[in-house]
Amino acid sequence: MSGIDWRGQVRVLDGNRAGAFGVLLARPDVIASYPITPQTPLLEMVYKLEAEGLFDPEMVEPEGENSAMGVLLGACAAGGRTFTASSSQGLSFMGDAYLLASGNRFPIVMAIGMREQVSPHGVLAGQQDAVLVKDHGWIQIYTESCQEILDSIIMAYRLAEDSDVLLPVNVCYEGFYLSHHSQRVVIPTQEEADRFLAPLKEMRRLTWTLDDPMVFSSYTVPPELYTEYRYKMCAAHERAKAKLDEIDTEFAKVFGRSYGGQIEEYRTEDAEFVIVTMGCSTGTAKVVVDKKREEGMKVGLVKIRMFRPSPRERLVRALSGKKAVGVIDRNVCYGWNCGHNYVELKTLLCDLKGPPPKLLDFIAGLGGADITDRHVETVIERTFAAMNDGGQEAVAWLSLE
């Protein structure tokens, strides 16, 4: 038996290596990926697992990210299960091929080791690369821990390849904070993963073969048909939301771990006000929420896991009746002078039941900066103050204060 066959064991792994085990357990047929910091060690580990004979996917070494996705488009069209990973400018270089994946409804799974986007140039943690492509038609799941990366990759295949969905899925994790930091990770057994993914074998998917050739995306369609395909893709995104909740419940039955599906609600039930997070700062934030609870503040936390499609129905339920909401954004939305989740939540305010809460945005952790417990305390204290007497600025840039 190979020395790195850690399936069925508890190990200390960084996010990249944890992700690689998620890939191993999902048994993809074709992997084509181009290395880029901070995703590179994931790819190295995948190659190592393949070299050690733990699985036998077709490994293609493309000359760049655009070709990597190009290879997977063909592989997916032929019915294969596929995987790739990228970051930052690599993701941007993938550009048109990335759009072809979602437009053609190819259930490709791709990890994004999230990193700041040019310019200025920086090999730094952030979320800007992934949020930049939020409107490209991919499903995006943002993760909090190394364990969640591994688990989410397995869940991503169940979601992507479901015949009610058929959309590509990004599993996003912040570079360095998750990609290079080590945590305790339970690596499932192959038997568990096979059992969880087994329902996909019953799902029919059109495939392109030499005997029964098909055309995809290559001809000019009339406007009615074009509109029809857009409509169908939007409808698939809507179906994907409840589907992720179901998949999460099933995941808990097989693996004993659960993440709440589209969003996780942490101590929100009796909370007067909540903070909203996305990604790895959630862990720190939960600790601070616990501390503030002990001090008597009725604060809760909502973690956005599924950023696309928008989990708006779940968010409306979670945020209705709260008096104030403080958002931590590790990204910026140009033209709105705030972070992306602040914009997203603003659009939901009129759907909330009862009087709308005060909404504050806190830009933090850009350019690889830490989001510390002190930052989260500031977020909670100011949101608390806004709830009581207002007077807080709507958007605060914590690193610049």
């Binding site: 409804r105 098909m214 055309v215 995809f216 000019t220 369609v221 048909l225 029809e228 395909y229 698939a236």
Partner: protein, 88 residues
Amino acid sequence: MRFISKFEGPWSTPKDPLDVKTGEWRSQRPVTRTEKCRQCGWCFIFCPAGCIREGLHHFSADLDYCKGCGVCARVCPARAIALVREEV
């Protein structure tokens, strides 16, 4: 909702794209002067849309798909193909 395609994505059988008559885009059409055509087949080889058909005594464009680019007329060594403006 009214749907045209039975497919979930922008997929089709190899035949379906032929329903899109790209000839409707044309502003000029190639007309083969049959007595001049020497059937060398250059127009057939160079047509970027692959819509030149071989007849019994000459080649001519399939006007359902010919977009009127004029490449056939340009390459014809016998000057057998003329471009005629389409009337609106």
